[in-house]
């Protein structure tokens, strides 16, 4: 018995060196103390009833038809001949089932469309390809609050889309009104499919072409080749992307808020948590805490699937670093037509961003199209000295967060992918978990955590005159956006065969030295890609910014100011749009700068 323990300990010690210990413990500590603990404090109320521990809140939720209604009710769509209108909203299956079904639909649609786009970009060469590439990435540009208005303008019965399809092109004999869950599915698919594209594209481009060549040698062609060689090999990437979209859809708040006037849209987990977590009396609802935990459980379950499935198929190659000739073909006329057929949906998916630009440059948008071209809104935001401060704040927070993110994710991803432990995947799951945690839960958890434990200090949100939200914001941003970098770096590490590092270590390099001199340069693109996505998402972060950031406007980031401007006086919508435009330009420039360097080599975004 003792021998067994001793054996395990010695194996443990063999794996560990100071660097590894540090790599495990630092992220572990940071996450335990600044994520797990505040959330637990918040959520422990889900497990108590009348002072005693109890699972009754969970039982109540799972047994209530409000949350789970397998039969469903309502009609998926309704046609009203009197007004010549097709009203599509979806059926109601209870809050939990609604969310799961919406997420499944979104990942299915995004997966399919994303695969199509990625394959076209990866395997074919045609004029206008760069436009395709740009369009497929634009939905990643986030512009909170204003996109609400724009999306509504596009989708409503007398909005742009219907005008185009019904009035102008006469493609449809009636007007279509997407509302409720159907609208959420549509909008989320369009917003999230780039994630699938990035993942799948990367898998396709990094695939060893000899595999496909062998298939062709043995007689496979076209669709057969695709189904039997290409798709299975790239499937992990595709699946990872699709499952990531599933999780994003589960916790997304943007689309439900746009359509929340419809009661069906309110019956989504994310919206229920957002709208009920903190009531007018400031008390925390145990039912909602239980619901949040259910959401968390679903998301984490999906994660484990991603993790395990991807790591089942290591497709690293020893010949890493060789730039093989991309398998791109020119398209014939039929192929070209098919490719260009994808253009309308691509443009369609970028319409929200285009709309925000249009809104920013217009005087008003009351009817179908924006009116009154003007630069006044843009000028206003530069003339107004307050705005530059928010810009600087946002940038500063982003830069500091990226530093923290990259260091922590390097540590944890390296530990997760290189150290041979039974439980190391838990660390990886821990580090990736923030994706599944609704931002608003973290924001509120931090509010209570810091006001309870740091009372009276500048970190105390209720300390009216001295409160400095910057440390809390940076901490929150870093933890919330860490998963992207972590997954990106992890994927890179998966593709760097461990032999390369072992060779270095055999020759006498210590672990840290190996990492610095061998591993890091090989995954530099992944690190860059991780930093890039972190920047984009930090700068556009909303939940923490509008709950903690607004408590001291001197340190508030841009998104907090946008919300303020949007909600205050009427007519500031254009200024908020101008701010959104600025935000998008910042994100775009970062993307362009790194894409020029990355060119053909998109690293994994996600897993």
């Amino acid at each position: 018995m003792m021998g067994w323990v001793r054996g395990r300990i010695s194996r443990l010690l063999f794996e560990l060196d100071p660097t590894s210990i540090a790599f495990i413990s630092i992220p572990l500590f940071v996450f335990s103390f600044f994520l797990i603990y505040p959330l637990s404090e918040m959520l422990v109320i889900a497990f108590t009833r009348d002072g005693a521990p109890s699972l009754s809140w969970f039982m109540d939720i799972l047994s209530s038809r409000f949350y789970i209604d397998p039969m469903g009710q309502g009609s998926f769509l309704e046609y009203s001949p009197e007004y010549n209108l097709l009203y599509i909203q979806g059926r109601d299956h209870g809050v939990i089932l609604n969310s799961l079904m919406v997420a499944a639909s979104v990942s299915g649609i995004a997966g399919l469309f994303g695969l199509l786009v990625a394959f076209t970009l990866a395997r074919y060469e045609f004029p206008g390809k760069s436009i395709f590439r740009v369009l497929s990435m634009t939905p990643l540009l986030l512009s909170p609050f204003v996109n609400v208005f724009v999306i509504k303008k596009l989708f409503e019965p007398f909005g742009l889309l219907n005008w185009l399809l019904h009035d102008v092109l006469r493609v449809l004999p009636f007007r279509v009104y997407f509302d409720g869950l159907a609208a959420v599915v549509l909008v989320q698919s369009l917003t999230f499919y780039p994630i699938v594209v990035l993942n799948t594209y990367s898998a396709l481009v990094n695939m060893d072409p000899t595999m496909e060549e062998q298939g062709e040698n043995l007689g496979a062609r076209g669709l057969g080749l695709f189904l039997r060689v290409t798709l299975p090999l790239s499937f992990p990437g595709l699946l990872a992307g699709a499952l990531l979209v599933f999780i994003f859809s589960l916790e997304d708040l943007g689309a439900p808020i746009v359509f929340h006037g419809n009661p069906l849209t309110r019956k989504l987990i994310s919206f229920q948590v957002y709208s009920r977590f903190i009531s007018e009396t400031g008390a925390r609802s145990p039912e909602i805490a239980a619901l949040s935990l259910i959401l968390l459980a679903c998301a984490i379950a999906v994660f484990i699937v991603i993790r395990n499935y991807v790591s089942l198929r290591p497709y690293a190659t020893v010949s890493r670093g060789v730039r093989w000739k991309p398998r791109e073909r020119r398209l014939g006329p039929i192929g070209l037509a098919a490719a260009y057929l994808m253009l309308p949906p691509l443009v369609f998916s970028s319409l929200p961003q285009i709309g925000v630009v249009a809104l920013a440059l217009s005087e008003r948008w009351a009817g179908l199209l924006p009116e009154g071209l003007t630069l006044w809104n843009l000028v206003q935001i530069f003339v107004n000295p307050r705005v530059s401060r928010f810009l600087v704040n946002s940038l500063a927070y982003a830069v500091i967060s990226i530093a923290i993110i990259i260091s922590l994710s390097l540590m944890s991803s390296y530990a997760a992918s290189r150290l041979r432990f039974r439980w190391i995947s838990l660390l990886d799951a821990l580090v990736t978990s923030p994706i599944a945690i609704p931002g608003i839960a973290i924001a509120i958890a931090y509010f209570y955590f810091f006001s309870n434990h740091f009372r009276g200090s500048p970190l105390d949100p209720i300390n009216v005159l001295q409160f400095n939200p910057a440390p809390i914001l940076v901490l929150g941003y870093s933890l919330r956006r860490l998963p992207f970098a972590a997954r990106s770096i992890f994927a890179g590490l998966q593709q760097v065969h461990v032999n390369l590092e072992e060779a270095a270590m055999n020759l006498g390099a210590g672990r840290l030295r190996t990492i610095v001199k061998v591993t890091a340069p090989l995954i530099s693109l992944n690190i860059l890609s991780g930093a890039l996505t972190s920047f984009v998402y930090v700068v556009g972060e909303v939940s923490l910014s509008i709950i903690i950031g607004v408590l001291n406007m001197e340190y508030a980031p841009m998104t907090a100011y946008m919300r303020d401007v949007w909600l205050s006086a009427v007519g500031s919508l254009q200024i908020a749009a101008a701010l959104g435009l600025l935000l998008m330009l910042m994100q775009l420039s970062v993307i362009l700068i790194t894409t020029v360097g990355l060119k053909q080599r998109y690293a994994f975004l996600g897993v």
């Binding site: 009833r49 109540d60 009710q73 509504k152 409503e156 808020i257 006037g261 400031g282 609802s285």
Partner: protein, 585 residues
């Protein structure tokens, strides 16, 4: 021996000369060459230097003789002195300051009991300083020519710079404009108020801030219900300027309380703006959907609104909007509890339900909605942005609300806080409401006498109309007694079960023409108060006003509230499904 130096090089003549003292340069190209020679240890010609010293000494002596002549002390001519006198006074009160030190020309004089000083000075330019403890010292330039000079000097009392912290629910536009105006005013300069720090905060967090004594000075804007729930934190202003202005403000406007008194008669808050409640309509939307302009709350519950393909009425979740909470309370008191809930139920059945009152306003402006219930100034804002919109007060069914400002009892800057409150209530401060992007109703009528007031004829007309509005007799206490219960019941029954409610109501509404008797019967049953099982007692209860008042205090406990709302939700779902089945048969 002759050293032969042939090409041009830098040669050290020293070395050569030491050796043989003679040199010959040969084979030189035709050019001019600089020759530098250096020697060591040259002898000084003593005789020359001696002469120089003597010359210098003579010049020095000459200069000093001339200088002494010019600068010799002259005989004193008795010069005429003039009187420099005056008073030193306090800038704020004008009262004389004794024991102030006046320093000029090296002389120092203290002022007497009357603040007076006298100094005699010769003609000339002087720099004068006046100092006194507790006051900022002042320097002046003084010129005495050919007569006595008298000068009154005002000293400003030294005040620590003050930052006022104001808890508020007013939006950023109001905050920014108020800050700009107030900090430019005389009173703020006098009291050295250098900054206004607004704490925009949602209602639930107010108590957290107020519990920290001394952190907050003033509370401004948030609706009377919020202020009434925090009465113990407010105090009566006692300074002269505050009381003077408050005296100008009426106790009631249009029947609504503008001042709130505590049990002991002390004044706890004063409204700084008034609002009414009604709905804003988009006339274009009304005509394209062929709807009549609603004239009362009951019109919003009409079956006609139910049969549209998608809702054209907008309301907000009372748990997320204080203004809509008020509107629902108004409806419940205007029609009575039971009938009021029938109207509310059908309104909810006819509506798109939003999370904020802003969203309702935006919906009407953009044409998303034909009707939206709103507080008045949202309606005025809408009218300014989109002329197709119109704000309507249902006749005899509304109230006027005063939006309070209060002095926080634990404030450490009382004088400054009261000055701010006085400013807000004065015509100067009330001008804020007349700003074209704010459009609120003031409480101080005198604001319309200012130039800005006279420019807003439209608001003055609305103000007069508001004064004449005879609303309902609204009982604030009665509304407070059941507020949380009302909000949560509304949420659980009418919002969470909105889909079922809508379906049922649509089916019932379809019967209006074909089977009026059944329509009436089903409509009544649909809108009856819900019967449910009380989660703690297990008894079947009905949501009467008495029951609501009884459970209201306990609803602050989130666990109880969750279980109550579940009970309501499940019961409502049953009822609505039942009616749907009955109606669609």
């Amino acid at each position: 021996m002759l050293t032969k130096i042939s090409c041009i090089q830098k040669i050290n003549l020293n070395k050569i000369l030491r050796q043989n003292q003679r040199f010959n340069l040969e084979k030189l190209k035709i050019n001019a060459y600089p020759i530098k020679g250096m020697g060591m240890g040259s002898k000084v010609d003593k005789s020359n230097s001696k002469r120089i010293i003597i010359a210098l000494g003579l010049i020095l002596i000459a200069i000093s003789i001339v200088a002494f002549y010019i600068l010799r002390p002259r005989e004193e001519i008795p010069e005429k002195k003039y009187l420099f006198s005056g008073r030193v006074i306090d800038s704020a009160t004008g009262s004389p300051l004794k024991d102030a030190t006046v320093k000029v020309a090296g002389l120092s004089v203290k002022t007497d009991e009357d603040g007076r000083y006298r100094i005699e000075l010769k003609p000339g330019n002087y720099s004068m300083t006046v100092e006194r403890e507790g006051y900022t010292s002042r320097s002046e330039v003084l010129e005495i020519r050919d007569r006595d000079v008298s000068m009154t000097i005002t000293l400003v009392k030294v005040r620590k710079p003050i930052t006022l912290v104001i808890l508020t629910r007013h939006d950023t536009t109001i905050q920014e404009k108020a800050k700009a105006s107030f900090l430019a005013s005389n009173i703020s300069k006098e009291l050295n108020i250098v900054d206004l720090r607004f704490m925009p905060s949602a209602g639930p967090l107010w108590e957290d801030y107020l519990k920290r004594e001394g952190e907050v000075d003033v509370a401004w804007g948030g609706g009377p219900t919020l202020f009434d729930s925090l009465l113990k934190y407010w105090a009566q202003p006692t300074s002269k300027i505050a009381l003077e202005i408050i005296g100008e403000i009426p106790d009631k406007i249009g029947g609504a309380p503008i001042k709130r008194f505590g049990g002991d008669g002390s004044l706890l808050w004063v409204a700084s703006a008034i609002s009414s409640f009604g709905y804003t309509v988009n006339n274009r939307g009304l005509s394209s959907w062929r709807l009549d302009k609603p004239l009362s709350w009951r019109d919003l519950a009409s079956p006609g609104l139910a049969l549209l393909p998608y809702p054209q009425l907008g309301i907000a979740d009372p748990l997320r909007s204080t203004s809509h909470t008020r509107i629902y309370e108004i409806i419940l008191q205007a029609y009575g509890w039971e009938e009021g809930w029938r109207v509310l139920a059908l309104m909810a059945a006819n509506s798109k339900i939003y999370d904020s009152s802003d969203a309702v306003r935006e919906g009407v402006i953009t044409g998303d909605l034909a009707i939206g219930i709103t507080i008045d100034f949202y309606g005025y804002q809408a009218m300014k942005v989109n002329p197709d919109t119109e704000y309507i007060i249902p006749e005899g069914e509304s109230i006027i609300n005063g939006d309070p400002i209060a002095l926080v009892a634990s404030s450490r800057n009382r004088e400054a806080a009261e000055a701010f409150i006085a400013w807000v209530l004065s015509p100067e401060g009330q001008k804020l409401w007349l700003d074209p992007s704010i459009n609120r109703m003031p409480v101080n009528e005198r604001v319309f006498e200012t130039p800005e007031g006279r420019a807003r004829e439209d608001l003055r007309k609305l103000y007069e109309r508001t004064l004449k509005t005879r609303g309902i007799e609204f009982d604030d206490d009665r509304a407070l007694r059941t507020e949380m219960a009302m909000q949560q019941y509304f949420k659980a029954v009418l919002i969470d079960q909105n889909l079922e409610l809508k379906r049922a109501w649509r089916e019932v509404a379809k019967l209006r023409e074909s089977d009026p008797k059944r329509y009436e019967e089903l409509r009544r049953r649909l809108t009856d108060l819900i019967s449910f099982k009380d989660p703690t007692t297990g008894k079947v209860e009905s949501f009467t006003e008495e029951y609501a008042a009884a459970i209201n205090p306990r609803l602050a406990d989130p666990a109880f509230s969750d279980s109550m709302m579940k009970a309501w939700r499940d019961a409502a779902r049953e009822r609505f499904t039942e009616i749907y089945n009955l109606a669609s048969r």
